[in-house]
Symmetry: D2
Subunit: 382 residues, 4 copies
């Protein structure tokens, strides 16, 4: 499973570090939901290529970049980070400093994919807000017309993967609309590409979803929901920009109505940036609700959560599930996978659900008899 | 659905108050998991009889007792509380002050059941530790031999219900082993009695179960679990007695291994009594765990929960599910109901499970098409 | 102590309700720091006049307005709310609908003060950002020149009180700079007015201040501070406007450096609005710090706090301390009072301090032998 | 300042590690309240002797023991741990295996003190409950009569220090009554010994004290207090023994009435043992209270606190304050020091107080002009 990454940040580096340490037997399968229960071995994942637009990363080795986050590690494949696509205002140049149009950019990217024999792609670039196209033709026309202002880097990366002449998977872990854009899903179907997305469900929101489901199952009436998040990684820093924050807020808010069946006033969004917290964010949640006979209860949840490892652990599954989806030729997007691993599971018309329900769907989709849940369902045998 | 209650305490009174207020349209179905999704109407529940051993309650009307907890309410059936069975050391006397043996006690109880045409029974007496019999014959022998020291009030109440000549249900909401005693289950099968039990899952433990399941699904390795509970109702007061506390601790601890699939050091028990908290307990939980690449996260949950309404709301379901089980002739005990509503779901060989899994089992058991979960599963239609 | 209020909102209404209930012996002195330890009796406080600009309040009786927040109460003085000054863009008209200039507005206000024989004034209008004048002459010139755009309602109210020909006190409970504007303090000194201000220290910030002092005394090195507040009263609603929020943030942030002696990254501000929380806000705080030998500890504080009663209880003190300050002729502003009761204690050059230190200053300023702290200092007598 | 330690556990080891790291410039003064503000240099503290009764420690070097807790450190003085006094049932033998009486034990201890030229002693043995003597003569008689059953190790250690023929200090950091036993204080006065004690105020209780003071200053009426502590160090393990827990509970509970001036129902005690938490305990506190006009607020505090470094940092001060007290010849016990650093400040007739008040007393006692609080009091200069 040869994999490329867009955005060589903290998540990508922790993914590489953790994967290497697993291969060397240093750590176990903590934080990897499917662990060794599926017939795709973690050891067969290979990270072989990455793109970034940060001048301090382009041209450097994975090991040099990972060292800043973790310490010295020898990687099986110590790739050099390639220049990605920054889009928009900054213009586009090839490595000779000559101006490129979008088709040239895409050509350059696809050349790299081929050269490295990549099959699976992960989008981990900085959060950006993306305007969906809805119509595949419109999207293709925008590319052809070199309409840089209309296209975001996530869309270009996805499109380049779809253009790459083999069966592929594109795993979108940021809140950009890809699996939620019918245009992208249509293009993926046509070009034999699997999309998983959008926005990796690794933080506090999946927990909120499951707690809301817990309350819903007991028909407790939630009065309102406050969920604060504050952290010190690049993600929180960039979310200080209102436009990006909006992208994030959207994907988090949909869970309330989808799970409870009714909407309630809520405040669920990244709240601020505090550099000393680093990658380990602080989360605070407050959920007052009405119980039987009008009784007023309340739940308060606080947490310290390492953001990047939570997502990186899920990526270990998503890469392997992508390989399975390709084998099964389930091109387009795959709701039962998205529902568990994504905050805003595509396709667009799909609803958010509690992660517990999604887990059951995931198990059914995976369908392997070998999944061992420790016989925890039903009755013990005598 | 004519219902009798053993133990006219806070839960029984809030149940009566809430039910009456629903009948009068004052409140909605908050805190009643199945609400109006099953074809047994809440309005058809009738509370018609109660037993207690507290001299301040015996002989008084429901409305007088409920007034202390809530305020003046006019009940459809303002029953008078009858003298129950206190067991053990205190001796047993009939209303003429003459000594009774166990068979006489049971006879007296059954007379009341018949007089009031009761079908469904709820055990809400003070927490007690009960030694299971395992063998139905041994239990029957102990009754015959008037072995008062061996039999607890819960066992006597259950046995009296089983002796009552009609199809019945016994809902055991305290941590006594009834649904978990094969002796009781056997007797229930023979005598056409449904048992639901043991120990109503109304407090913080179901939430803990679901949170553990959430962590388990992401294969996060839980390091340990602390769960403190402190409250000011009679329940917490009596749990200050070590023997009773032990009964409680047992039912709470089993969830850890059953859900996670491995055991971890845990401290889960009622921790103390603070009268000013009243029925609204304070709960604090701490769950540190290991995520991907060895990252250390932690969850802290604090809550204020009204204990009695939480259980009373579930009783509204359990009474109706009991009526359904009787109609279906599912005598003995019913795991899919117990798994969701009970902390220590019988039968004895059953495991605890997350409440989210249990909910799916419950829905399957209920099986009505009419259950409306707001179309929240799967995809929206176009 | 005849008192007038600018801004007949929740705080003013709860102040009136609580005061009346104390007079009638219904409640005790909870939430009134100095209670009955000073020789100014709470029973001698009279609320006799209020101004507001909300059309739904002007012309109505206190009892009608308070009823919305609390229920029916008979007040000793059931005043009618007068039209205040809304300033700025809205223009100013007298009761005949004729345009007024600032001097006419001030004249109209002072007439009301005289008619009602008011001595003490409390500013409780909606949070606004105020640009200090620094120079008293400049402030007076702006009034004379009718420079409505430069003057905020708080400044006009203060100025009108200073113009009123008797010894007065102006208690500024909002984050507008009054005690922190040397111009206002100078005018107050000249015109025999006492200013207490700015911004009543009633919420979570005083607690944060004391906790920071606690850590500082143990020389623990605070790494960063997050303090989230979310509520459902008008205050939180108006703070959604960025300009007002900024005013609030300023007064809260100064505590960090002033108390710790060094600055740390912090996020301390009203975070959002959730209507169902009403006046009882939710607060969450996170303070990680370094202890001996580099150990990393952390404190998490969550709270539910009724905002308006907290401030109203302090007003019971501030009115009485204002009367004392007038008797002592301490015109201008009084730091030892401000330091305890205000978030941004004036004068401008003063620092924030922990509230515990401020309390000692307050006691020294009050100076009455009668303050009974229960002999809690020092040694018990034999 | 040559110092000996009774009980070479985690606190003693972290004290040695931290002190060495400060001497080598590796860490700063975090967690040392008086830091460099007093004219006794931290660098002049020398740890030269320790006693323990654990066979795995006796005879081993400090560096070997500290390595288990921290890692390899080179200590200026790498002392060998000596055999202490285990008392009671276990009998007493000298190094030749011959039975010793109490006077022989004391003689053996004093010999070590002299040989190592020790001046200051710290009691860090496992929590034990001690029955005070009240009368100095009775205590001396018990020693003379070799009444081993009546005397606890803490008492023997203290007595041996008092017998040692030079001016000394005995710092009692465990909940045994030493500074609170008039017998010990009398003996200390006679024999020119300074006692600081009892029970180092390093955990959550000082924070509780300051928060209660904060509420008290605002005259908020506390309804009840729950404070749970759970940890995984030896301290928590031994506190599982009810007798030891009782000793701890006593010292914690006194703060409530002493600070608030009235008692309220409270549950304040070490609650359990969870090995994976190690030295970093989890604390949860719940404090509901009544504010103005009967409003009900509540505070919830949760924390992760490294127990041993918190106490070790205070010991850096206490050793130096002991040297100052000896110079000033303040023999017996010193309330202004105890009040800040101890949970149960001696002498016996003293009350607990908030730590903020105690801090002011401490500063006054220290009395050095050089204490720099950053000019944080009062006004800034122009």
């Amino acid at each position: 499973m040869r994999t490329a990454i867009f955005g060589q940040g903290y998540v990508a580096s922790i993914l590489a570090v953790g994967l290497q340490r697993i291969k060397e037997g240093e750590i176990g399968y903590e934080g990897i939901p499917l662990a060794d229960t599926i017939p795709k071995s973690i050891e067969d994942i290979e990270l072989v290529l990455a793109f970034d637009i940060d001048g301090r990363k382009v041209g450097r080795r994975l090991s040099e970049i990972a060292e800043e986050y973790w310490g010295r590690i020898d990687f099986d494949c110590d790739y050099e980070v390639k220049r990605g696509f920054s889009g928009g205002m900054n213009g586009m140049w090839n490595s000779d400093g000559e101006s490129e149009d979008l088709e040239e950019v895409i050509g350059r990217l696809v050349d790299e994919y081929e050269r490295n024999d990549v099959e699976i792609f992960i989008n981990l670039i900085t959060t950006e807000r993306v305007q969906p196209f809805f119509d595949a033709d419109k999207m293709e026309r925008a590319i052809k017309e070199n309409d840089v202002a209309r296209l975001s880097p996530s869309q270009i990366y996805f499109y380049s993967v779809a253009q790459y002449e083999r069966q592929t998977a594109f795993i979108n872990c940021i809140p950009a609309h890809i699996a939620n854009d019918p245009a992208c899903v249509r293009i993926a179907e046509r070009n034999e590409c699997v999309i998983f997305g959008d926005d990796g469900a690794s933080g506090a929101t999946p927990l909120t979803a499951d707690i809301l489901e817990h309350l819903h199952q007991r028909r407790r009436r939630v009065k309102c929901i406050a969920q604060f998040n504050i952290g010190g990684n690049t993600d929180f820093l960039t979310l200080q920009e209102p436009e990006r924050n909006l992208a994030k807020e959207e994907t988090k808010s949909s869970i309330v109505k989808d799970i409870l069946g009714y909407d309630v006033p809520h405040f669920i969004k990244p709240t601020g940036y505090l550099e000393p917290l680093g990658d380990k964010k602080f989360v605070a949640m407050h959920i007052p609700y009405i119980s039987f006979n009008g009784a007023e209860d309340e739940l308060i949840i606080t947490a310290r959560i390492n953001d990047s490892p939570a997502l990186a652990g899920m990526l270990i599954d998503l890469i392997r599930l992508a390989a399975i989806a390709i084998e099964r030729k389930e091109f387009g997007t795959v709701y039962p996978v998205n529902a568990f691993y994504m905050k805003m599971p595509g396709p667009r018309e799909a609803l958010a659900t509690s992660k517990m329900r999604a887990y059951e769907m995931l198990k059914a989709w995976v369908g392997y008899e070998s999944i061992d849940f420790g016989g925890r369902e039903g009755l013990k045998t005598a």
